[in-house]
């Protein structure tokens, strides 16, 4: 049996992973014993592979499965027609976080409108928004740059994943126009 270097390395991988048959493993070892330079490489590889055992796993966080099942149940409620028996904010797509953001956005829009009303007049000041924004710390910064009246409707229609992407700042715009 002969191995070129590439075949040797692949066979070594299989040997170290215990994926060779006993017969093939013995043949591989017998061949390796006749190649001291590769034996050294194999020994180093074995040591490196053995070190992987030091990377121990961590225990499952307490209550993890309960939290998973709770999220699934919440998802079922969101999509299961429970709106008639639950408060409206709890059945918004995306759950409570979405509801908070939508509510905050509504307040933002109303705040901007109030400002507009207060400032329009003889001086016709354009609503700048910062005063209203200052009161809305709860609104994620990524949303503040993007919200306008049309955005409210779009915000409510986003999927959960799209909404998460929006919060993460990975969505170019609410309107989906790439801006």
């Amino acid at each position: 049996m002969t191995f070129d270097r590439d075949v040797f390395r692949e066979r070594l991988t299989e040997y170290l992973d215990d994926r060779l048959s006993a017969e093939d493993a013995q043949a591989f070892l017998a061949w390796l014993e006749r190649h001291p330079d590769l034996w050294k490489e194999a020994e180093s590889a074995r040591r490196a592979w053995a070190l992987l055992g030091h990377y121990r796993d961590e225990p499952v966080p307490e209550g993890f499965s309960d939290r998973v099942l709770a999220r699934v149940a919440a998802g079922r409620a969101d999509h299961g027609g429970a709106a008639a028996t639950r408060p409206a904010w709890r059945v918004l797509p995306g759950g409570r976080r979405r509801a908070v953001a939508v509510a905050a956005a509504v307040v933002l829009a109303l705040g901007a409108g109030v400002l507009w009303g207060r400032r329009s007049g003889p001086t016709d000041a354009t609503p700048t928004g910062p005063d209203a924004l200052a009161a809305l710390d709860a609104v994620p910064a990524t949303l503040l740059d993007r919200l306008d009246a049309d955005s409210l409707v779009q915000l409510a229609s986003l999927s959960d994943e799209e909404f998460d992407l929006l919060l993460a700042g990975d969505t170019p715009s609410l309107s989906g126009e790439g801006g």
Partner: protein, 217 residues
Amino acid sequence: MADPDQRLMERFQNGDDSAFEVLVHKFQAPVLSLCRRYLGSKSPGIEDVAQEVFLRIYRSKHTYEPKAKVGTWIYRITVNTCLNEIRRLGADKNRRVAGFSAVFGDAGGEGEGSAVLSDPGATTPAHGLEEREVEGRVRAAVDALPEQQRLAVVLTRYHELPYEDAAAAMGTTVPAIKSLLTRAREHLRRGLSPYVDGDAGEPSGSSSAGRSDDDDL
């Protein structure tokens, strides 16, 4: 259908949510473990990603076909969810750079390590190195592997998936898995050189190299 996991999936697909609960309990540890090792041991939000995996399992239960192992299907979903997370955060490159620094530090990469093994037959580091330090180095070395190599190592070494199942979970081929593992091993050997580059001995010597049982080489 002899596979108990497949029976569970069948019940789950037929609307028995208690079967899903059993699946969650059974696969929570491997899913969390895979997320942790694939995304990097220091990555935040591991649990959120693992929860997302199970949500996807729940939502996509009807995409499962009994010809596949349930575990492989779940691993595939886990891999895809992690991959989405990596892309979403755009953090993989930064994490790997950080991991590289953690592995190689100021000591350089190869050859002249100060903590070489004195006993060529040893399978674990000696010289009073703290186990925690070794574990940290190994974690950092695994974290520093290129994404696909890391995933291949995690699936085959830590989750003990057959090459065929690892290939299915990664959407690739068995030869590709072997190639990834071979390259990963070389990365790890370099990254962990202070612990592995002792005098490895000769086949005719009295060290471990003289043994020829299947558990040693």
